[in-house]
Structures are given as C-alpha cells and as structure tokens.
C-alpha cells in the first residue's frame, strides 16, 4: 500500500524487516537531495548569493517542520546533529557532566544511552542507576521513584521505545514523576518519532533526541530538542565556522541558539532531505501510520505465536515497531543467516543492548522491525521462510 513511495522496493525483491536499524527512504526525500546537489548546491548561512540563500532557506525550513512536528515552541529549540548518538553525547558532555550526581536510565537502553555515561566514569551505583523492569520488560515505576528519592540531584535519560524489544515506556508518567523530584529528563526518541506523534508541550521532556535515518530521512542527520529554558546552560559542544559572532585571538563571542551548536558545514543535503521525510509523514498522517502499523504488528505477533517453541519477551499491546523472539534450542544468528539467503532481512544479535540481554540470560534475539512500507504479504513470506529455516536447522 505504501511501498510504492519507496524506490528501494522497485529495485529489490528483499523483504526488508530491519527498519529499527535504518528505514528505507521515500522518493521525495531522494529527489530533494538530488535537487539540492544538481540545482542549488552551495554552503548555507555564510555565502549569500542566490543559490546559497535558497539552500539556507530550505535548511531552515526543515527546522520549522521539525519544530511543528514535535510541537516545540521555538525554532531555536531544534539543534541539528548527526543522529541520536550525537544528540545524546552532546547533552551528556555539555549539560549533564559535572552538573548531576546521578544519571538514571532504564533497563532497556541502547548502548548509545549507556556508554556515554560510562565514559564519565559513572558505573552502576556510582553515579549511574538502572531502573528495574518486570519479566515482561515493564518499567518499574516504584523503583524509579525510590531512585529519585535516594538521588536528589539526578538526570533521567530514557528511551521512549526499546529498539531491541519494541517495548513502549510510559513516558508521560515517567517525566511527571521525575519533575516532581526536581530531576530533568532526556528522551531517546530514535524508535518513537518514526511511529507516532510526539508533543513536547504535552510530555514536557527537557531534551528529546531524533534520528533522521530511522525516520525515513537520509543518513548522517539527527536532531536534538532542548527546552528553551535549558539552552543557556547547554555549553557549545563543537565550535568553529558559523557559530561565531566575533573572534579575536583573545576571545570568541558565539551566536545565539541554535547556531552556536551547529559548528562547521552541516549535512545540508541530508537536512533538506529530512524535511521532506517529515512532510511525507505528515501527509500520510500519524493516525493512519499508527493504525496501519498496529494491524501489521498484531498480525505478525499472531502468526509468530503459532510457531512451535517460539519465545516472546513482551506482549503486543505495549510494543511498537520491533518484535524480538527466539526459537527454543536454536541460535538467532543461524536463523538470520538462512533467512538472508531467502532474501528476508531481519536483525539478529544483541541489538546494541547487551546489558538487558545478559539480564535475560540470552545471547541475543531475532528481531523483526516494521515500517509503513511493510504489509501482510511481507509477514507471510517471512513466516514461511522462518519455518523453512527452522526445519533446516532442526532436522
């Protein structure tokens, strides 16, 4: 139904079920990239001839689109980055470090939201706390509240949706609880923005991180939302060209946000393309995306459930986008390789989330992750392929 917007599927017979790693791109995104490169390629924000002005205008248009998409209040709250990893690292280095005694994360974090904290010489119970989860990976709100009480000067950094399991965190509740105890909250939105709409005025996150390439946009683009009142305290992370009002050898006067955070030539083509990805989502409308993806997800869950010896890690209701499973007695890697030979692309392994894998006592899982370009036919082919792979391995 939506496949036709994505040129990849015209060229490839692959059943692509690895969107949580990166999404396919609709043609309007690729067209916008090409248009920039072949019609008005030039640098932004510094040169001021015609093409450069056009590039700057398109670039800033993406900022507006993103602002409106997540209901930020002001454009300066949107800072472009390379991706969620850079956004998280930026906040870790330039805001959290030396300011907060404790960082609280969930059990389901991606390495990008664990390792930067380790690099600050935090480790479990020494500046880093991990909120427990139940067997079905549900966030333990009571434990969270206790951690907030015990650690009065905390910064909470938490994923909206787990990339490894698709588990959805009760974000609003988490943020309200954190704020009650005076803690600030950063959200890893890598796996949420592609699937449903987020309203910064509603959830009141202090920081929210965005991955362009997972949201139908180009690679090498991301963004960081910073609530306006924190901008003053956010130190510039990288500095250089186009962040500057005045420089002598003695000192530097930086421009205001967002520019002071966007040093050097940005990924201009990527950012312009990302704008089109957001327009694409808004044209389809999030409510249609949610309904459509839910239907496919339920169908996948049901069909997988019929397979003998399948192990699930979550229910289907509080899960979005990704579904992780194992087949008792088999290694996920073996399944992944055989499915690949049948032209079905899934992901196997620890999904950059080793700690939770260790906690569950498993090496990894097989993960199917969905997007609007998937349909029931993809699921049928996947299930057939999976059965065949199981047969080859078990016989």
């Amino acid at each position: 139904m939506y496949k036709k917007y994505f040129p990849y599927f015209k060229n490839s017979k692959n059943i692509y079920l690895d969107t949580a790693a990166t999404a396919q791109k609709p043609s309007i995104v690729l067209d916008a990239i090409n248009e920039y490169y072949t019609q008005y390629c030039s640098n932004t924000h510094r040169s001021n001839f015609g093409d450069a002005n056009r590039a700057t205008t398109e670039f800033e248009h993406t900022r507006e689109l993103l602002k409106n998409c997540i209901k930020a209040k002001e454009s300066k709250e949107i800072i472009f980055t390379k991706g969620v990893t850079e956004s998280l690292n930026l906040v870790a280095s330039s805001f959290v470090k030396d300011r907060f005694d404790t960082v609280i994360i969930s059990s389901l974090e991606h390495h990008s939201n664990i390792v930067p904290w380790h690099m600050q010489e935090r480790s479990l119970h020494k500046g880093l706390e991990v909120v427990n989860c139940d067997e079905d990976l549900t966030f333990d709100m009571e434990h969270f509240e206790n951690l907030l009480i015990q650690n009065p000067n905390s910064f909470v950094s938490i994923t909206h949706v787990s990339n490894a399991f698709g588990k959805l965190h009760p974000l609003k509740n988490i943020i309200q609880t954190a704020h009650k105890y005076g803690a600030l909250v950063m959200i890893d939105g890598a796996q949420s923005l592609p699937h449903f709409n987020i309203d910064m005025q509603d959830i009141e996150a202090d920081f929210y991180t965005i991955s362009g390439h997972k949201t139908y946009g180009p690679t090498g683009v991301g963004a960081l939302y910073v609530k306006a009142k924190h901008l003053e305290k956010l130190r510039p992370y990288q500095t250089g060209g186009a962040t500057i009002k005045d420089v002598s050898y003695d000192k530097t006067v930086l421009l205001d946000s967002p520019f002071k955070f966007e040093a050097g030539t940005q990924n201009i083509a990527g950012i312009i393309g990302f704008g089109k990805a957001i327009e694409f989502l808004q044209n389809i409308e999030y409510k249609n995306i949610i309904n459509y993806e839910n239907e496919i997800y339920e169908y996948l869950y049901e069909k997988l459930g019929e397979i003998k010896d399948v192990i699930f890690y979550t229910d289907s209701i509080n899960s979005i986008g990704s579904l992780s499973f194992n087949i008792k007695g088999l290694m996920a890697e073996d399944l992944g390789i055989l499915l690949d030979k049948m032209k079905i692309s899934i992901r196997t392994g620890h999904h950059c989330a080793q700690p939770i894998m260790k906690k569950l006592g498993i090496n990894g899982t097989a993960r199917v992750s969905l997007a609007i370009y998937n349909d029931k036919n993809d699921i049928d082919i996947f299930i057939k392929g999976l059965k065949r792979a199981i047969k080859i391995l078990k016989d």
């Binding site: 924000h45 510094r46 700057t56 205008t57 800033e60």
Partner: protein, 139 residues
C-alpha cells in the same frame, strides 16, 4: 489601510518597473547613495544595529507624536535598504508602526529579507525600528 502599507505599495510599484534583479539593485544602490549621511558622532554604539554583517545605524526622534528615523551604513546596498525602510517607517506614529504587519515586507521580494541567515541584517534593522517604536508607545 495602514499608512505604512500604502508606502510599501509605492515601493513595490517602483520595484515592479524593473525587468531584472540587477536593475532593482542598481536602484537600491542609487537610493543608498542619495541617503543623507549621518553625522560622525551619531555613528556610535547606541544607534548601532546588532546582528548585521555590515555596520548600520538607526537614529530615532519624535516630532509632533510622529517618529522620524535617520540611518546610515558602511555599505551602499544596505544604505539603500535603510533608505527604503525609512521611506516606509519614518514620519509615522508609534501606533501606526506597531500596527503594521511586518510579514508584508516580504512583498519587496528581496533575497536579503527572506533568507533566514544567521545574522539577518534586514530583520535586525526592522527589529531596531520596532524596538524604538515600542519605547515611545504609551498605549
């Protein structure tokens, strides 16, 4: 109709006479050259517009309840733009100035206006004028 809007109409009509962009800018250069230079001691920080790549000064005064603006710049084209803004904004009450919808300025079709560059000179000048008008507006 706001008096500023009428004045803007006139400028836009003038602009419409030109076939190409270069002619339009020749005209702006001309306006710039003809704009009266401000005195050296008015070229000070109080009147300096912040956020321009070139230096721009805008000096306000109040006469019979109307604001009068003088201005200058070290670059001719910006001086021309200043001349246009003075034509539109000068000799108007603070209320008229504040009642004017700034988006209308886009009708001038100047790249310098519509480009959201990091240091948008044109916007900064307009903001300075608005700021002055707010300062004397007592409604």
């Amino acid at each position: 109709m706001n008096i500023l809007e009428k004045r803007l109409d006139e400028v836009v009509e003038d602009f419409d006479l030109f076939d190409d962009e270069l002619e339009k800018y020749e005209y702006i250069v001309d306006l710039g050259k003809r704009l009266k230079q401000i005195s050296e001691n008015n070229r000070n920080d109080a009147y300096l517009v912040k956020g321009c790549t070139s230096s721009v000064w805008i000096i306000p005064s109040l006469k019979n309840g109307k604001m009068i603006f003088e201005g200058d710049s070290n670059t001719v084209i910006v001086k021309g733009l200043v001349a246009i803004l003075i034509k539109i904004f000068s000799d108007a009450t603070p209320k008229e100035i504040l009642g004017f919808d700034l988006k209308q300025l886009n009708r001038l079709g100047l790249a310098e206006i519509v480009t959201p560059t990091r240091q948008n000179g044109f916007t900064s000048i307009v903001n300075k004028i608005i700021e002055y008008a707010k300062g004397v507006n007592h409604d």
